[in-house]
Amino acid sequence: MFVLTACSPSDQIEQQSKTAASAAQTASLVLDAWASGAAPSKYTSRTLQSVGKTLADAGAQIQSAKSPEASEQAGLTAAVGQLSTAVTRAATAVQDGNRPGVEQAQQDLRAATAALNASQSKYFAPKP
């Protein structure tokens, strides 16, 4: 009932990669807030866990879409997987109060976000 209905594999991949990009920005913003002392640890940790689930779902849906552009699709899946890993690490580091761990996870998150952007550009680039 609540699931957004996609018309084609390409629509599904586009929608899920947008969801992943938005979720990654949520993780980035909440980590910045935590680092500056503006967000409590429990809230930050729960938000990151929730974002992690969203990313895992998005990754699974991208992977299961039957797209003809298999290599570009694999690139997107890998980028979302990187995001998911970075967010999971960040959640653990926040729970442990491990600031260096959070900083490392933030860097990983930025790198994974850049990888997602690059994969999106490649997937949605006009084909000859």
Binding site: L4, T19, T26, L29, V30, A33, G37, R46
Partner: protein, 406 residues
């Protein structure tokens, strides 16, 4: 001087009572996904609710009947049954969403999952209704609800381009995600034109023993109170656009994202303000919807009713809000996502509008009830417009829910 005080208190009550989980969630989603482009839906919804609230108050002040009373008496119980059932169902979903909103606020504050808070919130709401008076519920909780003004302060502090904000008040076609855009518009309208608001208002007018001398007060409270309430919803939308959308967060499908609207503006206090706003607004709305369920059933069946009476003097009335609160807490206690429930219930509210608004056209033109204070041309045109809008919403809501729902 007394009237001025009553108007001020009434406006404060309307402002504090306007924003609840529905208007907060829909405005946040709209701002994040479409920036200022859906401000028109908030403006349209606010104009519609101003007209309906004014009419509900006028009807009560002149005829000494609530809207529900009027429908039952004028059309008979068989006709009244349909709006009764539709409104009870929609109110049930809205009440569940409000309990969910208050439970989320408690989760954010404590770190303990929202499911665990659903029954305690429902119990606390029941205790307020059981022990409290109408004035305490109406004014006390709503005055606390003024904390939601932090969204307006936040919006001003962010310094939006007011030209673009004003441009958002004019409906335009979306350049992406059309189904989602229209679904958001429907949800915003559902959150703004909520039947419980105007039905509660008419019951409140009877509880406060309004008569014809309150017609001016009624007009001022409906116009100014709802306008200020709409301004807060626009504040939420602006903050979501300038904070969430600006950071690349264009999908708000998780309630954990919502505090991020205020944190970049107010720092840690932004988190505190958000939790307080959500908790107070939703708890207040849960009380009002709980009372409204009891008003509706008691008025429909001709039972004794009144929040100022002792529960033993109106046992049916007290039983309805007791059972309603308990039942509404169950879906949240079972883990149903409150944000998704909220968006769904707002869309369903929009779809049910014709059933609760059509009777206005008859009641507010019936001289036996409103005498010389019947609707003029503008009020009738507004009701006809809202009915037409309600029918359109009823037809498009389900397809939009399927194609554009989150």
């Amino acid at each position: 001087m007394k009237k001025l005080l009553e108007i001020s208190l009434g406006i404060v009550t309307s402002v504090g009572g306007f924003l609840e989980v529905g208007s907060m969630a829909t405005a946040a989603q709209a701002g994040a996904a479409f920036r200022f482009q859906l401000i028109w839906a908030v403006v349209l919804g606010t104009i519609c609710i101003i007209f309906l609230v004014e009419m509900a108050g006028r009807f009560a002040a002149v005829s000494h009947h609530t809207i529900a009373d009027g429908i039952r008496e004028r059309f008979g119980f068989n006709v009244f049954l349909w709006p009764l059932l539709a409104t009870l169902l929609v109110n049930f979903l809205v009440m569940s969403a409000e309990i969910g909103g208050a439970a989320i606020a408690l989760e954010l504050a404590t770190g303990i999952g929202f499911q665990w808070w659903a029954l305690p919130v429902a119990f606390l709401a029941w205790l307020f209704l059981w022990k409290g008076t109408f004035g305490f519920i109406e004014k006390g909780v709503s005055i606390l609800g003024l904390v939601t003004l932090c969204f307006v302060v936040g919006a001003v502090m962010l310094g939006p381009d007011w030209g673009q904000v004003a441009a958002g008040a004019v409906p335009t076609l979306p350049d992406h995600d059309a189904a989602k855009y229209w679904f958001m518009a429907v949800s915003i309208l559902g959150a703004s034109i909520s039947p419980y608001l105007f039905m509660f208002y008419s019951s409140g007018a009877i509880e406060d023993q309004w008569d014809k001398s309150y017609l001016g007060t009624n007009r001022a409270i409906a116009g100014l109170g709802m306008s200020f309430g709409g301004t807060i919803a626009i504040g939420v939308l602006i903050v979501a656009a300038l904070v969430l959308a600006a950071h690349g967060i264009d999908q708000v499908d998780d309630y954990h994202q919502l505090p991020l609207m205020l944190i970049p503006i107010f720092g840690f206090w932004g988190f505190v303000l958000f939790v307080a706003s959500l908790g107070i607004a939703c708890f207040g709305a849960a009380l009002e919807v709980g009372l409204q369920q009891a008003y509706l059933v008691a008025q429909g069946f001709g039972w004794t009713w009144g929040e100022d009476q002792k529960p033993r003097d109106d046992p049916g009335f007290s039983t309805v809000y007791t059972v309603s609160l308990l039942l509404a807490a169950i879906p949240i206690a079972l883990g149903l996502d409150p944000l998704r429930l909220t968006i769904f219930s707002m869309a369903l509210t929009a779809a049910s509008l014709p059933l609760s608004v059509v009777p206005f056209l008859f009641l507010l033109n019936d001289e036996r009830y409103v005498g010389e204070h019947r609707n003029g041309m503008i009020s009738n045109a507004a009701v006809i417009f809202i009915i037409a809008l309600g029918f359109v919403l009823a037809v498009v809501t389900i397809p939009l829910q399927i194609f554009g729902g989150t």
